[in-house]
């Protein structure tokens, strides 16, 4: 009886320290391939959240101190960026027969993942055209997204974008 009690106690202690370790961002994950698959899932959810204006998903995926850098060099925090998306201030479009048509599918062009333990960088080319507050943004552009695992959850902490060939 006493031995069982001590074993249970040790298990509780071990789980306490495991939890504390996770708070520090130590890896609870697995192989780079498994980590990559986790981030692919979150990145896909993020894109879906943009398209469906899913505020709850964006709140969950974006870190509270998110910084989003546009290809114009403008920078936005989480609240500002969510306002841009949720209020339709950023509109991807295609030209069809001389008319602007909204984009329904975002192509994942040249997407690469770089795993550094609990930090993952996603790189991509975005060739679509976008209007921001009615004005066209430079395009095409390349960008990277940085995900960090915090408290067992992958969050986007920063996005940095630069226009291709522009100065």
């Amino acid at each position: 009886m006493v031995r069982r009690f001590f074993l249970v106690s040790l298990l509780i202690l071990a789980s306490t320290w495991t939890f504390a370790g996770l708070r520090y961002g130590q890896s609870d994950a697995n192989s780079p391939e498994e980590i990559k698959n986790e981030v692919v899932k979150v990145e896909d959810q993020r894109i879906q959240a943009h398209q469906s204006h899913d505020k709850e998903a964006m709140q969950r995926i974006y870190a509270d101190d998110l910084v989003w850098t546009f290809p114009t060099g403008e920078r936005f925090n989480k609240a500002q960026f969510m306002d841009i998306i949720l209020n339709g201030k950023l509109k991807p479009y295609v030209m069809s027969h001389g008319e602007q048509k909204p984009v329904t599918t975002i192509k994942q062009e040249d997407r690469q993942f770089y795993v550094f333990g609990n930090t993952v960088i996603v790189t991509r080319l975005a060739s679509m055209t976008e209007l921001f507050n009615g004005k066209p943004l430079p395009h095409p552009r390349r960008f990277f997204n940085v995900y960090v695992k915090q408290g067992g959850q992958w969050q986007l902490v920063t996005h940095h974008s630069a226009p291709v060939g522009k100065q």
Binding site: F5, S9, T16, W17, Y24, F116, R141, S161, P163
Partner: protein, 152 residues
């Protein structure tokens, strides 16, 4: 037996409180320590570029660094080291802000308008995002992005 139970419960309670306190305390001191160390590495990077010190630059860049130029190209570490004369780092950065996530630190800064080291061509101010992780006790740059500030 009852006494052992009480003592163990007290030990658990103490462990929980103490773990919580040490996490909070360590969070604050770890953040401050990491900020200080990363700012020092940023200065080393600037200095290495000014002095064309490819050895230092090579030590501070992760082998898999993601390097996004203001003209939208991704460069490998080898390309960055070969292109050290381009002036990518040549302008002084100002108003650096750091976000710390354990052993990952993101540094946001803006450069003043300057000129390229090689061509002496004038360049507009840039937004810079640098991401560092601690690998084997050493801070390494894993991502660098720079974008010219312009009007859409």
């Amino acid at each position: 037996m009852q006494r052992i139970t009480v003592l163990l419960l007290l030990a658990f309670a103490w462990t929980g409180v103490s773990a919580g306190q040490s996490v909070e305390h360590s969070d604050a001191s770890l953040v401050a320590k990491n900020k200080k160390e990363v700012l020092k590495v940023e200065q080393e990077l600037d200095h290495a570029v000014l002095k064309n010190a490819t050895d230092t630059l090579s030590r501070l860049l992760s082998d898999e660094v993601v390097w996004l130029t203001p003209t939208g190209e991704f460069l490998t570490k080898a390309q960055v080291l070969a292109d050290i004369h381009s002036g990518e780092f040549s302008s002084k950065t100002e108003d650096s802000q750091l976000s710390v996530y354990g052993n990952t630190v993101v540094v946001y800064s803006t450069t003043k308008a300057g000129e390229e080291k090689a061509s002496k061509k004038e360049t507009p101010p840039k937004r810079i995002t640098d991401v560092f992780v601690k690998e084997g006790g050493q801070w390494k740059l894993i991502a660098h992005g720079s974008t010219f500030i312009s009007q859409p």
